[in-house]
């Protein structure tokens, strides 16, 4: 087996894994602060992918160029969803939260099915099939751009939580819910902002992902499951863990495909999940509860 084959496969795995990581980052942020498990996460990403397809179809705008407006729209959507629908469920038993979000996911999938039909849709940009060559390694342009976007988006989110007052308030909420309320923070508003940020992350990931994968309404559950696998491997609630989990899953799937059998790729990522659950239940970078 030649080194350039292994290098090509690993690089593709890292690049795809970074986009996976960004998608899972949204789930991790929402859970880390609001403590709600978003079962509609993959469906939200599918909606973002369809948004990019629609915009490209009508205005011929590259999904990378419409990242910010789509993310802004999803931020508003997430904020409204949290403050209008999910907040009343925060104090209720967890199973009612689960059912609420599963119901939301089903509604989203069926709405997409009604609007767009079952067939796959894609965005074809001019550079879709182009690649850079670096030594013996081929860097797929789309994958490289998508991974770069994921890195920039994740870095911006880290910076927001670390350096802005609102970000620090949200972290305070996550660390000590009661303490945050005692010092007068508007927790419900901060929850809304957090869900909005999580949704914006998903939107950015969706706009990047639509250039890698054709979108169908039934894609949602697959990505929800993938996001769960990634955040559990990386550590639920850990932002760095989500990115690391994404890269690990991306690379391990790619290597499993190369070294074992391509059809064993998902089997391998679920094997990794079981291993992490057994040896480090809090995830690689998660805090022990």
């Amino acid at each position: 087996m030649s080194w350039d084959l292994v290098a090509n496969v690993v690089v593709a795995g890292v690049l795809t894994g970074l986009v996976y990581g960004l998608m899972a980052l949204g789930l991790s942020v929402i859970f880390g602060v609001v403590r709600v498990v978003n079962f509609a996460h993959g469906e939200m990403m599918t909606i973002a992918m369809y948004s990019a397809v629609l915009i490209f179809g009508s205005l011929k705008l590259d999904p990378f160029l419409v990242l910010l407006p789509v993310a802004a729209a999803f931020f508003v959507f997430g904020y409204v969803l949290q403050t209008g629908l999910i907040n009343p469920f925060i104090t209720r038993p967890e199973h009612t939260q689960f059912m609420l979000l599963i119901a939301l996911a089903i509604i989203m999938t069926n709405a997409l099915l009604m609007l767009f039909g079952p067939e796959a849709r894609s965005v074809q940009v001019d550079y879709q099939l182009e690649s850079f060559e670096l030594g013996g390694v081929l860097l797929d342009k789309v994958r490289l751009y998508a991974a770069s976007v994921a890195v920039v988006a994740a870095a911006s989110l880290f910076a927001f939580f670390r350096f802005t007052l609102t970000g620090k308030s949200i972290r305070a909420c996550a660390d000590n819910h009661l303490g945050a309320r005692v010092v007068g923070l508007n927790v419900k508003r901060l929850y809304g902002l957090t869900f909005g940020l999580g949704a914006a992350c998903v939107a950015v990931a969706g706009c990047a992902m639509v250039l890698l994968v054709d979108v169908t309404p039934s894609l949602g559950p697959y990505y929800t499951l993938l996001a769960f696998v990634i955040v559990i491997v990386g550590g639920l609630g850990s932002m760095t863990g989500a990115l690391l989990g994404g890269v690990l899953i991306g690379v391990s799937e790619a290597l499993a495909g190369l070294l074992i059998a391509p059809s064993a790729k998902s089997m391998f990522s679920f094997g990794l999940l079981i291993l992490v659950l057994l040896l480090r239940p809090q995830g690689l970078l998660g805090k022990r509860s």
Partner: protein, 414 residues
């Protein structure tokens, strides 16, 4: 006048008795067997990752009642069900169609789903006519109610490989190696077994398979698979695919700058589907599929094409020929049997299907006649190449519209 009235009264009394008897017997299904209309349960994967192909098959089903009414004078009611590309859904939908009164089931494009439906049909004693599905075991179980007017994987592979030999002869090429890539589902595995069994016997083929790569039918990314295939340095790709994965694969080959002599399917869907051309544009060109195909010169094809264009004015039959053609023929078999049986009784209908002998048909090959296993033999294949963004028959020479192009322009040895 009074006499006439008396006759009327007697007739009325008889009618009353008949109606009463009918009402009394109807719940026991005794009169069901004399229904004037044949209810055909059509099961197809109209959503999920096989959704586009299922919809393509559905086009053949939708035009069937009108065409068959004109041909045979038989009334057909279609009862459509979406299997959602899921074996379990296929099974439950088949159960429900039977409960709702379907006299015969048709479907379901995919081997796994068709096998599940066949099980239900056999248990419930309702005829099932498989439109498209190649796994040999479907007609190897000794079922009495399951029939298939489509090639088995073995037939497809045998015909497909023979056509590959003809292709090399026609283009004076001698590829030495192939990488075999196949979708890892019931159909893909059956085809892989078929290739494994037939390749050693076909000594006239100049190539050997240097690597076999199977992949998930719902794969979202085939970059690893294509990297592996490229690393094998094979002269051409022998591909058993579905639609979405064929698109992914062809796209990934371009991204990885891999230009083998060609991509040749020994008999699988994907590369002749309309969506393949729509999504890939020029990248779809020169791919080759050796598949059961329709006879463009047949009278029935012309009739079907007319009905197809009436229903789908913006579409062309050539992009749905295989899917729509075999689905239409499956319903034709049901209607023809119903006409001869004059009954919707399941056993009578199954016996009539067994006696089928349809010579005026749309698809290539001999007449539609079922053997003792319920399988039609002698269905022909054609070598169909994507040229000028449409499937074009290039072999056998007798049916060819133009000459094959092989290797693909831009071929560079790996």
């Amino acid at each position: 006048m009074s006499n006439q009235t008396g006759v009327h009264r007697r007739r009325f009394n008889k009618a009353l008795v008949a109606a009463g008897t009918a009402a009394a017997l109807a719940p026991f299904g005794i009169l069901r067997a004399q229904s004037a209309k044949l209810k055909v349960g059509v099961l197809l994967p109209r959503s999920g990752f096989q959704g586009l192909i299922g919809q393509s098959c559905q086009k053949g089903a939708d035009l069937a009642p009108e065409v068959i009414k004109a041909m045979l004078g038989v009334d057909i009611e279609l009862m459509n069900a979406d299997t959602e590309t899921n074996v379990d859904v296929a099974r439950t939908r088949a159960e429900r169609l039977i409960q709702e009164g379907a006299h015969v089931l048709v479907g379901a494009f995919d081997s796994g789903q068709s096998a599940a439906i066949a099980q239900v049909a056999e248990q419930r004693g309702v005829p099932h006519i498989v439109n498209i599905a190649a796994a040999p075991q479907i007609t190897e179980q000794g079922y009495k109610f399951v029939f298939r007017n489509f090639q088995t994987a073995g037939d497809i592979v045998r015909e497909g490989l023979a056509l590959i030999g003809e292709l090399f002869q026609a283009t004076n090429t001698v590829p030495r190696t192939a990488v075999f890539m196949h979708v890892n589902d019931t159909f893909g595995q059956a085809m892989a077994r078929g290739i494994g069994a037939f390749m050693p016997r076909l000594t006239q083929l100049p190539f050997r398979i240097v690597d076999t790569i199977s992949y998930d039918p719902a794969a979202k990314d085939l970059s690893v698979e294509v990297s592996k295939a490229k690393a094998s340095k094979a002269d051409f790709v022998l591909l058993v695919s579905r639609l979405n994965d064929a698109i992914l694969l062809r796209r990934e080959m371009a991204k990885q700058r891999w230009n083998p002599m060609g991509v040749v399917s020994p008999g699988s869907p994907g590369m002749y589907e309309e969506q393949f051309y729509k999504t890939l544009g020029k990248l779809s060109e020169y791919c080759i599929s050796n598949v059961p195909w329709y006879n463009p010169k047949a009278e029935l094809t012309k009739t079907v094409e007319k009905a197809f264009l009436k229903r789908n004015p913006k579409d062309q039959l050539v992009f749905h020929g295989l899917n729509a053609g075999f689905t239409f023929e499956a319903i034709l078999v049901a209607a023809d049997s119903f006409k001869r049986a004059r009954s919707t009784d399941a056993k009578t209908l199954a016996d009539a299907i067994r006696q089928t002998n349809i010579t005026s048909k749309m698809m290539l090959g001999g007449p539609i006649k079922f053997n003792e296993k319920g399988q039609v033999e002698g269905i022909g294949s054609a070598c169909v190449q994507n040229l000028k963004l449409r499937p074009t028959v290039v072999l056998p020479v007798s049916a060819a519209e133009t000459k094959p192009v092989f290797p693909m322009p831009g071929y560079k040895p790996a």
